[in-house]
Symmetry: C2
Subunit: 157 residues, 2 copies
DNA sequence: ACTTAATCGTTGACTTTTTCAAGAGTTTAA
DNA sequence: TTAAACTCTTGAAAAAGTCAACGATTAAGT
């Protein structure tokens, strides 16, 4: 047995010590790439992708997000939100409601069916996340979440 | 003064407590998005983007990566490496060398000019990274790097 | 040795994602 | 009341991602 024991050797181990592997932007990119591939696979049976899942998640919150807010929070162009909401609306999972405070905006809220779908989808992403994090202890997982959230919401400056 | 004091209010603060904001995959996506936008802006004067910078970085290591290895390490399709190396080669920063062990492979290595360019580029990305991480202490930064690198290199399973 | 299967870089076609400018309707400020 | 700013939407164009196939080369099976 030339590789250690448990996991499959990927062949990139010899790059682990290189300078690039120490840059958080690179690490974040790889983390996202692996994570979203996994999440997409788990969400596919529900007819969702990571993007549409994210919109559904916010629509299921009690925060009544506008499309503009969805775009900013999800790091997307406002024009990218349109087809995402279109598709969820077509499936009957989400509704565009008039914003009482500002008739320019449209507030996205989940229907009953949307909430039901989200419950299942959330289980899928939670499963993916626990797979991604399986090499970290519970405490480490919370630390990671905290540190990441502190740099993920920096103002544009 | 309605916003606190220092930093610009982005308007997404009210979403910080939502369920999605607690998912690492989402946090990694936002981190990458902010980070690569900043890095691209800093690398642009050098004629590089994050992608080409990453290839150059590995070419400057003493690891003699093949294109296949570059693809795997950078989470890209092998066919995406081709134009990246083409461009760097055209600029005289990188060379495709025959792999003595396997004539199918091509080893990518940096030229003198490539090393020079990389030194400057590395300064740019380091500056971007320190901006990204400015809300974290030095110890926290190292913790984040360690935790992320442990989940960023999981085997495919 | 010889055939078969697998791998590497490359190309080309195709889909998806990203980016950007502009338009119609609405709100805010002057 | 006009002008400027903002929201959603559309459409076009560029960039990125996916995938199958090819020639050249290596590895495996017999």
């Amino acid at each position: 047995m030339s590789p250690k024991s448990s996991t499959i050797a990927t062949g990139i181990d010899r790059f682990l010590g290189c300078e690039l592997a120490g840059e958080i932007e690179f690490l974040a990119a790889r983390t996202r790439s692996l994570g979203s591939a996994r999440a997409n696979a788990l969400l596919a049976p529900l007819g969702l992708k990571v993007r549409s899942y994210s919109v559904l998640s916010l629509a299921c919150s009690d925060l009544s997000p506008t499309q503009r807010e969805l775009a900013e929070f999800l790091s997307l162009d406002p024009s990218q939100i349109v087809p995402l909401v279109d598709q969820l609306e077509k499936g009957g999972f989400v509704e565009r409601c008039a914003d009482p405070n500002d008739r320019r905006s449209k507030v996205i809220s989940a229907t009953r069916a949307g909430h039901t779908l989200y419950k299942q989808a959330r289980l899928a992403t939670a499963k993916g996340e626990s797979t991604s994090m399986e090499r970290l202890s519970k405490v480490e997982q919370e630390t990671l979440r905290d540190l990441l959230s502190r740099i993920a919401f920096m103002p544009a400056n």
